[in-house]
Symmetry: D2
Subunit: 385 residues, 4 copies
């Protein structure tokens, strides 16, 4: 019997970690064939080259789609998305997948949805039904409206997708595949690699044996003009904390460039002299590093999702994760250096929290692959009410 | 005080008629300024040149966006949409509108939504919340998910948009602006123009004084491969009816080209010798012609919407209008010549129906303009539940 | 030994006929493999579907590139070319040809040259070194400047390419492959098909047994605004001549649409009632039809090139073929009905001319294929002086 | 009288310096109006933000065209060019220039030529007729073939453009506008700014008062796979020389990213500890820095052009400037550390050379502006032979 071809499109660095165990489960599945497509910022070394990591993990990259426009124009998000649609349309025509999988809610993920739907290819969506701030909110639910199969990450997400008028039979709470890795890390939490040796990075010579914190702060595209000011508050707070820090560069979102520029400037001025800057790490290493940190500071969804499972204390800054379902481990604060510092000290003092399986119990990859194999192929739907 | 700039993007011929009274109301509004953008098939003479009609109606075209790819490739819908996003992004950057308005549910309307949302411009959507078949179903609800203001055309549509998680305060049932024209036509139904003299067209010399029918059948993009067979059934039925016929060419949708080719072929073979073929008419003339017809045959939404208000008997063929709310005036049938013919005879025998205001009471344009003026500008939203 | 992959890109209907014997020679060549790519107007039924003809001729289409934007915008030629570059870049990356072949001088042929050169693929150019009017003049010589191998169609063309600074070893006068077909037609000139039965077309029922003329007039893009006036003069002249006429529709060039519209208008008015309109014919049929005509009227390069070899009298109108090397068989005239009519009568009275092998002796296809096989692969060059 | 609108498109950092005096002369000219368009890498901070510099110099940026695709795909050059054509077509339609000016020979300059020519806008080309290696050679001469007016930089360039079949009346040897700045620098050579204070940069704290060298080495796109190896040889040589070094980062050309990566790597390893790295400087500062250097090492055309006028000793590496007309001040060598070091020592020992006005006498800007004002507007041409 011909294997069902599942084309997964990854358009950004963090999405890879989010679906890695699902990719493995598809690859291993008796009746599925994996077609992995990388696009946009997932291809840029600057933002962590997903291609090399994926190949090292045993995956073959079917297509590389270079659709990211350079430069911080107000039109960039739209044009990058328009280009992605045009390029993905060609890729899907050549690959002829049975199902296309789009992931989460970054602005360019809608390109995957459109290119598939407009060629009558059934679409599966990962991570629908969640609630956050930013443009992501619009994109995520629009993806839901294009999708024929919804593989959601939490029970409340399932409820919301259902309420939005999708048919119950098309929605499955698989949990988030990223929790599969978190589960493995919880089972074996010791850091078994040297971050600087393995990943280089720039900045201070710090070691993960001692006490350290992790910072991950991205731009909020709808507050783009405040990006520099926002990161400056965090920089002030981290400088004041004066603890060794693993800092991950901002991603490609509108405003990220000016955040990076601010960070580079402070580095050249010899501020942040206890910080080491990284672009990316393999998902297991990354979660292990976070698991052993005293606190995560920033606005990454990792703080909300993986850290709930890992029990890591988090100081979540600003509006980027507004409304996302969260655990006991998170405290929220504004873009204010004093506030950030105070909450960080409190969280460090508190220490680790109990694990909360809000986003899955750690078996999402296999469940998702099975659902893709079992899905009754169709690209037609009507509102349930 | 600076007037609020309202940019309305029209991407297809029928959308113009659907919003014409709203365009007038915006233009007349003390605190609004109209920016009219034409794109895609709205610009092609082949499908009825909206530009000339709009200019004759007193509107200025701010931008003409040529984004339609020639040729019936499987990738055309996606690439045409990708191009539209890229071109509209530039247009919006130049026009700097306060609100962008996207209309209904054709595949390329999502381009308007994306280009506006990704530049943080508030988006209003006309005709959300309805239910139909085809790819339009996905596109319409995705537009809803991008929109900040919903101007819907019926009470049931309002309910659906609300259920989908939009906030009640952002939804207004204005009715469909097209009913404003239908109301004027109902008040003064006599045909006051000579269709052939005014619009040319090709085919038989027929007059609107006698008994006649109207045919409007478009391709169903998700059944594209059956387009030719589907139109052939209708051709057979109309040939058998042997009544003077005003026939409007299929639109630009995937499959439309092969329908037109089939029609041209039959014309050259001297079939359909009682039919006159038109591309387009001014909205008032068009509704007046339909109002005075014995029956409308096809799958146009005009049969479901305007004809409910006008009380014109309709034979609705196939899946294109599946699930759209309808009045007593519609009978549904399959793509089968005998069935179409039989239902048409029955509908002609029945004669006109009572007017049903399902899609508005005929004051939508003004209501919509007022809503655009009153809307609290924002481009941020979260799900209501 | 691996065969050398030769990728020939055809972007317009007439180019197919021009290279057909070369395509066959490549396909038959022991050390070559043909990769045939169709793009732009070559794919549109409206302008004669090259794809079907090529497949009937035994060729496989490797890629179909839909890059033609609909609508007569001032920006269309540029944007269609930009799109072609983007799409051909992907195609070449997938096909990995050893040599790419670009043909002649239509505006979009530069896209082939750029997409190949910018990926370091050696480029061969057919029909360089000729001199004409219009934008083609710029495009043709720019193609020469990108090309690494020049397969020219006449001795004077070879001289010009040499003078432009290309190295003598990279230039070969193969003659035009279209003359290979003309040679076969000269050897067996009788019309062996019924044009209407085989190709349909619309208009008068005329037969190729009697006396007839052929009209082929395209828009001159740099005189686009005069297109309608120009074709009207020809229509007047042909109406006055009152001889059965095989008329080929204008091509896709800017201005062609308004010419076609004028022709359709006259047709509906029952002018041109001795004319039959065709989109396209197979090359052999086409040349046989011309060979047996009393006169060719218009501005097609067929009048200058193939008709020199065939000895058919030609009335060449306007600037489109200005400066192109021509034989005794051509008289030139302006866009003036009286003048066109007078010259046509004179040419018909004169009858056929002696064959002149200006554009080759009829063995170009084989010579070109051999040159492609023997070419020392490189994509680097410097001016010869 | 309406001023003639001259639209100059700058697509890369070095082009700005090359035409700056011409821009001023256009802006000052009684009958000209300047429309300055920035595109591609000229807009990226990473490669030196031309926009800020130009605005500081008193110019207004009419349009910013973001057409540069991120990531080092084999298709990037082609796609970036295709996008540029599409975006420039819109810009020219909005700006309605009387003449468009394209500069030199980078791959994307052909986009300017095509977008202008295909909209029937007369095209002027700066720096035609020169001879070099790389893909630039093809692009430069193709630009010549699109251009209606040729403003060349040397007598031998004028001869070559003439030989290529352009009409003598359309060619003017203005000299290179960059020499206008070089002339001013020669008249007042003292360095009047602190490079590190004014431009930041990263690396060693060096001062321009002492002896120093300058390095500028870009990727050769046709030798892209050797980029890293090539820069490593230069790094070895410069390390061995052990002299304070002002080093300018490689530009955006294919291969440049891997060169930069190699440089960053060596920096992090504390090699090159006497080097300071800069992105860009204002043209006057830049030439003053070079004028006072002991030697310029690399493959920039600055070494061949401006340095001939300034009399600065140059070690020119590899094939990038092959065949470009050069003065006594240049010695050529291969990609070999030992060779580079030896030649550099020899050049430093030799000291400065006499000024050679090969590329103009320093009044090019004014001459070019006058030519643009006097040019008989046309967009039609035929080969001169």
């Amino acid at each position: 019997m011909r294997k069902r071809k599942i084309c997964v499109v990854i358009t950004a660095r963090p999405s890879y970690a989010r679906v890695k165990t699902m990719l493995h489960a598809i690859q291993m599945h008796a009746s599925l064939e994996l077609q992995l497509v990388l696009a946009g910022s997932a291809l840029l070394d600057k933002y962590g080259d997903v291609g090399s990591i994926a190949e090292k993990d045993g995956f073959t990259i079917c297509e590389r789609i270079y659709n990211l426009l350079s430069g911080a124009a107000p039109t960039s998000m739209a044009k990058t998305t328009g280009l992605a649609i045009m390029e993905l349309a060609t890729a899907f025509q050549n690959l002829k997948p049975d199902i296309v999988v789009t992931i989460a809610d970054r602005f360019e993920t809608i390109a995957t949805s459109i290119a598939a739907s407009y060629q009558n290819i059934p679409l599966a969506h990962i991570q629908g039904g969640e609630v956050t701030g930013s443009i992501d909110e619009k994109v995520r639910h629009a993806n839901t409206k294009f999708a024929d199969l919804h593989l959601v990450a939490s029970e409340s997400a399932r409820q919301r997708v259902l309420k939005m008028g999708e048919h119950a039979s098309s929605i499955l709470n698989t949990g988030c595949p990223s929790m599969d890795i978190a589960r493995a890390v919880l089972e074996k939490p010791a850091i078994d690699f040297n971050p600087i040796e393995k990943y280089g990075g720039v900045g201070a010579e710090i070691a993960p044996e001692g006490k350290y914190i992790v910072v991950m702060q991205h731009a909020v595209t709808t507050e783009e003009m405040h990006s520099r000011v926002q990161i400056e508050e965090t920089i002030k707070a981290v400088t004041a904390l004066d603890i060794p820090t693993f800092w991950f560069w901002p991603n490609v979102d509108l405003g990220g460039e000016s955040m990076s520029s601010s960070l580079r400037h402070h580095r050249e001025e010899y501020d942040l002299d206890k910080a080491r800057f990284f672009k990316n790490m393999e998902p297991e290493d990354f979660l292990r590093l976070i698991k052993n940190s005293a606190c995560l500071i920033g606005n990454s969804s990792v703080g909300i999702r993986e850290c709930a499972f890992l029990g890591v204390p988090v100081v979540n800054i600003g509006s980027r994760q507004t409304a996302r379902e969260r655990g006991q481990n998170v405290v929220d604060c504004g873009h204010n250096a004093a506030e950030i510092e105070a909450y960080a000290l409190k969280q460090i003092a508190h220490g680790h929290y109990a694990s909360e399986p809000i986003y899955g119990n750690g078996h999402a990859g296999k469940t998702a692959a099975d659902a893709l194999a079992a899905f009754d192929l169709k690209f037609h739907k009507t509102l349930a009410y």
